[in-house]
Subunit: 149 residues, 8 copies
């Protein structure tokens, strides 16, 4: 049983690498959004031409990125959404809602101080984790039945 | 052509009332989450019994609220999501993602200072509005073909 | 927002009547399986002719009952499944699984001594209740935002 | 025509091994839940942290297991559900209902003394079998057209 | 629980009238194909212009009739398909397959001499009936829980 | 059997009125896009604010109109698409493709000189008509079984 | 673009072999029902035990065969349904209806004397063919763009 | 993350080759309609027999072509639709609508003079491009995160 896992959300720390490294040897395919922040912001105008209005500059980029993120979520069995300490991160919550409506297995990765603010998101998830390691342990258990320790 | 409209998001101002008042005379049915903040937070434990751990206190409430919010979104033709000036509002973005995945017509109501943070959410919407009045004008136009002025 | 609620499971006590009575005044339509035990067991052969083999006797009846139960579940917004103290009640768990796969809001009604045996079923539900009254309070809150007390 | 078969239900006897052994040489991929009973019960708390309340202990585990069981059922062409002689086995009946709602081909494996209690479940199945061998013979016939003997 | 029932198949006897008459007082809406044989055969060319080639004459009519039959089947909770004694009746079997794929509750009405020829169709049905009266009794039981006699 | 009919396409002649008038007395609900050409072109900027770039001016309007057209098509049983003598009319063909993918019954209304250019669109339709009157006759036949003359 | 093609219907002539032979070199995977008539009739009782009543004998077999035929149709891009000169062949028409409802591309293979009786089935198809060779030529054209001759 | 891309629309220039060449080294599978204009027009009658009436000549061909185009669109993650300078190109707009209704990521390739006529089509797309090169750059960015230059 191979698993396809999409890693959504925060792009400022190396949590994706920690999960991918930890999951080595497991039959998992990982996908992610483009995590190069500047490229992600400017992809629309870089390819399709400049926009004087920042609103449409952002729109063009968000739509190009959506080609990748929708494919990533639609192909996934499991969607992991990481909420970091800073920023609004509405795209992370949007991805979580999108994945939930498609019936994907949702794993949230966040610290306890956000528990109350994320309670609706958490309630749609099958696991709320506190570290990349816990995500890895879930994937390992799901695929092999082995628990840590 | 009657419209079913779900009003999601910020619960601290009277934007819902403004839209509902403005839309009087139009063939629209409005639904909303429970907007009594205390009731919404405590509904789970008030009905199903107290929890010593705040995490499960929140979970019980979020799940009971989900009965209403999922029904509201699934029944809707149009989902309006309002992002206010404050708070994380991840449940609003979650609802937007949920609605988008179900193919609902999405209208976002937010101020320009959030444009960049909401660019992925906006890109999934059919309109980005700045006031309840603009939402009303869209509903009026969609139902009657009449423009303001 | 009217709610359509299907009441599945145990047929030996008056829990359905308690819920229906308690919900008077709320905009709820209730549906149930046929709760006349003898009729439910024999409907197949009574209408379509006797079977010497009990296996096919049961099959004919279960298929006729399925016309009603599938319609009831498919039309429902909320499926309440009651597990009683006795019997295998596999049809109740089957209904819960069927409703879960269709994305219905699931409410389980059962006593704590069955918590462990029902953990997978409970984990698919939005509420685990201990009395018909709690079910009524959830429906009231979902429809009106009012909490008990 | 390769077949993907999910083996749900009773975990106390070696029926899964009998089917997998018997089906050697056939183009079948088998998946199952985690059948290590202790691991299955404790996976939630072992990975995500202890819970003082057994109800939430069970919930955490059931949700982690659901990542695997839902994937297993959703990927399957055929879902075999085995009901043993003992225990409530509500998760088995839940899986059967879930699979039926998704339109999977359902094969039930159970002894005749449970026929009446399982009549609704059986009525949703394409075959009711009495031994792992019969399941193997069905898979062989479906894939090769060859009958036993 | 109102039922929407589509009556498909044989158009040479009054079985539809018998069912509709028998079901008086029950909360059932009946729909049927056009049962005027000449109109059904010629509707395409009568409205859209003559065709010299009988193949396209038939095609035009079959497509116009499909507007009604697809709507009828898609709206139905229960599809009753009657196979008469004569003719190929492939459109009846086609409707049965169409309804089965949509997950409709299927009731077949046919005489025992066709049992073997209809075994695949019957196997997709929830009831195989021998008279319009049995169909009526099923509808009555499904809606009221009352058995005949 | 009431029918919901969406009238898409050309907005320069009174073909919609002819169909609606002709269908008086039939159980049909008609919906259409906004047919006020100026309003349809400018609705986006009139409500949401001017755009210096015509491309985004058009985009804003097209998205607001999509709220109505998608609702109209999704609610419809039958989608009639009229291609006039002039203009590109790509939105009409887009609506036809959208309706076809949703499995709607499609009726095309066009003159023979466009037959070859419309052959892929026609091939997805259940009727190709030459006059509003033929559309009316189809609706009448579908609802009443009566043919003209 | 590989194609998955299901060959349904008549089992008394070698039309399947003709198509499979003719399609050699094309990127097509073919699937079929079990075409050993005796095995197909008796598979249920041969595996699951004898039935004194021919009705249930047939039912058991039809349900086992359905595991294969449903998988075959659901996996297919193209469903070819062959109607022979003799017999009722209601299972062929049932398969055609099932495939049509799932949106499969349908090719019918039949002789002109059945045109009128098959008009509803033909009207749901993308091609009506008269020989296995024509089916092969369609598959070749669809995959390579090459026409015969 | 491999991408499946369908290239729909104009067949008179080498835009498909430009995209396919430009995308070399990327993990993309491309599919297209048959672009041999004569073969595409005549495939129906060439395989299935001549038709005296051009309308049915066209119909037969359009239906055979639909086997390929529907498969191509349904399998695609991304549908690129090219509108050329000339002709009605209603099949291109039809494909765009079909793809939009299936939730495919849509990329339009057209010149600015068609912007107004294509505004509804563009509004359903995630990118409006002016050259095959821009399409290639989008695919490269989506798959690798790399921007041009």
């Amino acid at each position: 049983m191979p698993l396809n896992v999409y890693l959504s959300g925060e792009i400022h720390t190396d949590w994706r690498e920690q999960i991918i490294d930890g999951a080595q040897g497991l039959d998992v395919t990982f996908n992610s959004p483009v995590t190069d922040h500047a490229a992600s912001d400017d992809c629309g105008v870089a390819i399709l031409g400049a926009e004087p209005d920042k609103f449409w500059h952002d729109r063009k980029g968000a739509m190009v990125n959506a080609i990748r993120t929708r494919k990533g979520i639609e192909d996934a069995d499991v969607v992991v959404v990481r909420f970091g300490e800073k920023y609004k991160q509405w795209n992370a919550a949007f991805d979580a809602g999108f994945a939930a409506a498609l019936g994907k297995s949702l794993i949230i990765l966040q610290q306890p101080d956000h528990d109350h603010a994320l309670k609706e998101v958490d309630a749609a998830a099958l696991a709320v984790t506190r570290s990349p390691d816990q995500v890895v342990e879930i994937l390992r258990y799901v695929l092999t039945g082995k628990l840590p320790g």
